[in-house]
């Protein structure tokens, strides 16, 4: 298999968020800013790569009937590893006492375990393919997911708070408040709905 194509498919053609509509809960729940989106995306990528590699290594030893529970335990373990690491190293509050990345992502870190993307790739790809292909697949899909979360997070942050990549870029290009609805729950749904519609059009152009 062409590994480059295997890697790149997660971005547009099989983008988990815009095309396959998987992992919607963290997509909506953690994208109130671009940085949060990237953080969530990378945490998921980490779990996806490790569980893909590990499952493709061990799949042939696991009896068919207990396959799903075993995968779930393996995935849950890697999720806990991410949770512990993030609790230790991404738990510093911002310069003005803003909540840390770990606090912002909160509940959604343990919930990576029920993200359909992870179990889906384990079952559909990693259990049938070589270790290297599974690694590339996990990495590609994970970065595609991160890419989608980054786009959605950026749109919501720019429209909602008038900042971009805050607090990494401490710059506000509007006075006062932005369109606050976009930081809140309704904006998450609206922004994602319009982004998917735009992606549909883009995909059609590419197909022609």
């Amino acid at each position: 298999m062409n590994q480059w194509r295997n890697f790149i498919k997660g971005f547009i053609k099989e983008n988990p968020v815009f095309v396959l509509f998987l992992g919607m809960c963290p997509t909506l729940g953690t994208t109130s800013s671009a940085i949060n989106g990237i953080g969530m995306g990378l945490a998921t990528t980490f779990v996806l790569v490790l569980s893909n590699v590990f499952i493709s290594l061990t799949a042939r030893f696991i009896p068919d009937k207990v396959r799903i529970p075993s995968y779930i335990v393996i995935i849950a373990s890697f999720v806990t590893v991410v949770d512990l690491i993030m609790k230790a190293y991404t738990n510093t509050p911002g310069p003005n006492g803003e909540p840390s990345l770990y606090d912002n992502l909160g509940l959604f870190i343990p919930l990576i375990v029920v993200n359909c993307i992870v179990l889906g790739r384990a079952e559909a790809f990693a259990s049938k393919n070589s270790v290297f292909s599974s690694f590339i697949d996990g990495f590609g899909i994970g970065l595609g997911f991160t890419f989608a979360l980054f786009i959605l997070g950026s749109v919501r942050e720019i429209l909602g708070s008038g900042t971009f990549l805050y607090p990494a870029l401490n710059f506000k290009f509007i006075k006062g408040d932005g369109m606050l609805a976009f930081v809140l729950a309704p904006g998450a749904f609206l922004a994602l709905g319009y982004l998917i519609a735009i992606m549909n059009i883009v995909k059609k152009r590419f197909a022609k």
Partner: protein, 197 residues
């Protein structure tokens, strides 16, 4: 790839081995990160304490008292900041349950005489753009250097001295409520122990 046969023994054995491996690995990672997690938690606390009290050189996060709050089960944490041996201030972790989004947690810094030094917001679920203005200077600058013994910690609508945030009276009330709770705890400790030294 050929699927492995599922016999009862192989299924039980596999599940057992997988969970055993997972627990062992997680136990190991937990031991590795335990100290870093504890450090991050205490750094978070002391960073907040630093923002509300004058300069100190002890470790307030290790030197604290728990004070039971009026509702059962809740506690206020009372951190003492010292410079050499002089008490320079107290940081009190306080809360209000009457905020717009439910719980609001503040860290109130008091000078030894009870005057407010500074207030930091630790945790809140207020509406962005409305209730969150409590962290902005226009509202928060009303509190430093005021002594709650004379400065009435209520919004003006309720007969107090605090200018409420526009369109967020509930948040403002909760904020005052939390600061007042901290101050009451402070006066209590002062009368009980004849001033903490």
């Amino acid at each position: 790839m050929a699927k492995k046969e599922s016999t009862f023994l192989s299924m039980v054995l596999t599940l057992f081995l997988v969970t055993l491996g997972a627990s062992a690995a997680l136990g190991y990672v937990y031991e590795l990160t335990k100290d870093a997690i504890a450090d991050a938690e205490s750094a978070k606390k002391s960073l907040a304490v630093k923002r509300v009290v004058p300069e100190f050189n002890n470790n307030p996060t290790e030197e604290f008292i728990k004070i039971p709050a009026e509702t059962e089960g809740d506690t206020l944490y009372f951190y003492v900041a010292r410079m050499n041996d002089d008490t320079v201030g107290y940081a009190i972790e306080t809360y209000s349950k009457k905020a717009f989004g439910g719980l609001l947690k503040l860290l109130v810094g008091l000078k030894p005489d009870g005057t407010i030094n500074n207030v930091a917001v630790l945790e809140h679920k207020e509406t962005p753009g409305l209730g969150t203005k409590m962290t902005e200077e226009k509202f928060s600058s009303q509190f430093p250097d005021k002594n709650p013994a004379k400065f009435i910690l209520k919004v003006k609508k309720d007969g107090g001295d605090v200018d409420a945030i526009t369109a967020s009276t509930i948040t403002s009330r909760a904020y005052c409520d939390a600061v007042q709770r901290a101050f009451s705890a402070y006066t209590e400790t002062q009368t009980e122990k004849g001033g903490m030294k």
